[in-house]
């Protein structure tokens, strides 16, 4: 009985893994372009997958007026960037600063294994970096010392 339940959960897990929305966002991403009038930007990469994301933000009066990204990588990292840039629009900076990783995972709506957390959270980390370091962003050497 317990075995059957477990099997059912795993099947569900399997079906959910690459659900339509994630694949759709991977093939047709949202907000995937440079933002000409950005005030903040940050590039982050994930050495495990080789995912790369640069986040652009346009912040006026402590509100994120627009956000976009450029990058390449696995379906999870790229779908996360689409979802996140969409959500950030018109969000107060202080809300974005405290946006938890759990929220990013919830937005993806799929089970994320421990090893794939970095893919799922890469865009969010870039946003945090952009908010912290502003227009110049943080160089790769500095990133060694900042998490």
């Amino acid at each position: 009985m317990i075995g059957e339940q477990k099997a059912a959960v795993e099947t569900e897990f399997d079906e959910q893994l690459y659900k339509e929305e994630i694949l759709e966002l991977y093939k047709h991403p949202l907000n995937k372009h440079a933002l000409p009038e950005y005030t903040h930007q940050q590039e982050k990469s994930n050495p495990l997958c080789g995912d790369q994301i640069r986040i652009y933000l346009n912040i006026q009066d402590q509100i994120i007026r627009d956000s976009s990204f450029e990058g390449n990588g696995c379906a999870i990292s790229q779908a996360a960037a689409s979802l996140l840039t969409e959500k950030l629009k018109q969000m107060p900076v202080k809300d974005a600063e405290s946006l938890p990783g759990e929220e990013m995972i919830r937005m993806l709506g799929i089970p994320i294994s421990h090893l794939r957390q970095k893919c799922a959270l890469l865009a969010l980390q870039a946003v945090k970096g952009a908010l912290h370091f502003g227009k110049e962003g943080m160089g790769k050497r500095e990133q060694e010392k900042w998490e």
């Binding site: 795993e10 690459y18 694949l23 997958c49 080789g50 696995c74 893919c119």
Partner: protein
């Protein structure tokens, strides 16, 4: 060729499916006899070695030195030419530290573009410290080493040629003996990263005539955390150790000055070694020899040939490796699908493969493969049925992403 039943982990279902383990270039699975050898040591012989004179210390010391003898014979070396380390990475790092003491600004180190980071970063760091020049032998269009370029790059300025015997990313088998001859002709030392070759094909250090060679136990059915640095005896005798501590000195004084080192291999094994690991590795050697190294090599070659033939028929799939196939390794990309997504979906089918850059970033940059590749790697317990499952899995990946 070797029944999966000999390896307990291979009967562990993954997501309710049979485990198809194709990540052998990362680490191989352990037969029960290797696990038993380690357990048995802890249950019956555990003691520190070369120190106490009690019964267990004697037993552990004899077992450890017997393991060294087994490993030495396996690669055609003398006992005192075998230094136990934690693995290839430690072997290469300590070797670079030791050789670095005799290198000077302007000296050249020649590597290949297909090096694993563990045979690249240590040299690069030493080069920064000492002002050495690092040069890379490029690849041909067929993912093999450009031997003509090797001839041009290895000159009288070259002090060390260090290269991988088998590429962990491409499977390419490098012409080790010929490269070593090139190095020696210019008076350079030849260092071989044999992590992917020892235990997969017959490696004899005397035949190769390499000066140093490094490998890991865990890539040849042995335990994690044990490896070997081989060095020619006359070279080792003239090297200063990289690590210091117990078990490696003849005498030390509080009055300063240099301690008096023991001879090799003790000189290079400061601290308490991984005795159970060495015993496990020796048991793995026995196990592989029983199967036959020639047979293992032939078995993996057949699997690679079959996998290559079947993968080539899949549309939008590109093989990243030599036409004639490599040593137990097939790397590929699927157009429009990131390797990590490939590996994740294969994982749900019970298939373990590696995806990414395989710790070979310079190679990936050269090949223009920023996302890396998906890599299937085979060993003696893999079968044609494993390839059936892999092929079906790849078709499923393409269906999901179509």
């Amino acid at each position: 060729m070797s029944s999966a039943a000999a390896y307990p982990i291979l009967s562990t279902p993954i997501f309710g499916k049979r485990l198809v383990y194709l990540d052998n270039a990362a680490t191989t699975q352990k037969p029960q006899v290797v696990i038993d050898a380690m357990n048995q040591f802890y249950q019956t012989s555990n003691a520190n070695i070369h120190r106490g004179i009690h019964h267990l210390a004697e037993k552990a010391t004899l077992a450890y030195e017997a393991a060294r003898e087994t490993v030495a014979r396996f690669i055609g070396a003398e006992n005192d030419e075998i230094i136990f380390t934690s693995g290839t990475t430690q072997s290469l790092n300590m070797l670079v530290q030791m050789l670095g003491k005799n290198l000077h600004a302007g000296d050249e180190i020649v590597l290949t573009l297909m090096e694993h980071h563990s045979n690249l970063i240590p040299w690069q760091e030493m080069a920064r410290e000492k002002g050495l020049v690092v040069k890379f032998i490029p690849l041909t269009a067929n993912y093999t080493l450009d031997f003509n370029k090797a001839r041009e790059l290895i000159t009288a300025k070259t002090k060390v040629l260090a290269f991988t015997h088998v590429s962990n990313t491409l499977g390419t088998i490098n012409p080790a003996a010929e490269l070593i001859d090139l190095a020696h002709a210019q008076g350079a030392l030849a260092v071989v990263d044999a992590a992917q070759s020892v235990g997969h094909l017959l490696v004899d250090v005397r035949q190769l005539d390499c000066d140093f060679l490094a490998f890991s136990g865990h890539k040849m059915c042995g335990p994690l955390g044990i490896g070997v640095l081989y060095g020619k005896k006359d070279l080792l005798m003239n090297l200063e150790p990289a690590f210091f501590g117990g078990g490696m000195v003849e005498d030390v004084s509080s009055e300063g000055g240099k301690a008096l080192w023991l001879a090799s291999p003790q000189r290079f094994e400061a601290g308490t070694p991984h005795v159970a690991g060495a015993l496990g590795l020796a048991r793995a050697v026995d196990f592989l020899e029983k199967q036959g190294l020639k047979q293992i090599e032939a078995h993996c070659a057949l699997l690679v040939e079959s996998a290559m033939m079947r993968l080539k028929k899949i549309p939008r799939l590109n093989i990243i490796g030599p036409d004639q196939g490599g040593m137990g390794i097939v790397s590929f990309t699927l157009e429009g699908i990131h390797p990590h997504d490939v590996a994740e979906i294969l994982n749900r089918e019970g298939i373990a493969v590696r995806a990414g850059r395989h710790c070979t970033n310079p190679l990936m940059k050269e090949l223009g493969l920023a996302d890396g590749t998906t890599r299937a790697s085979f060993y003696l317990y893999n079968t044609e049925e494993d390839i059936d499952v892999l092929i079906a899995g790849i078709k499923k990946v393409q269906e999901v992403f179509c």
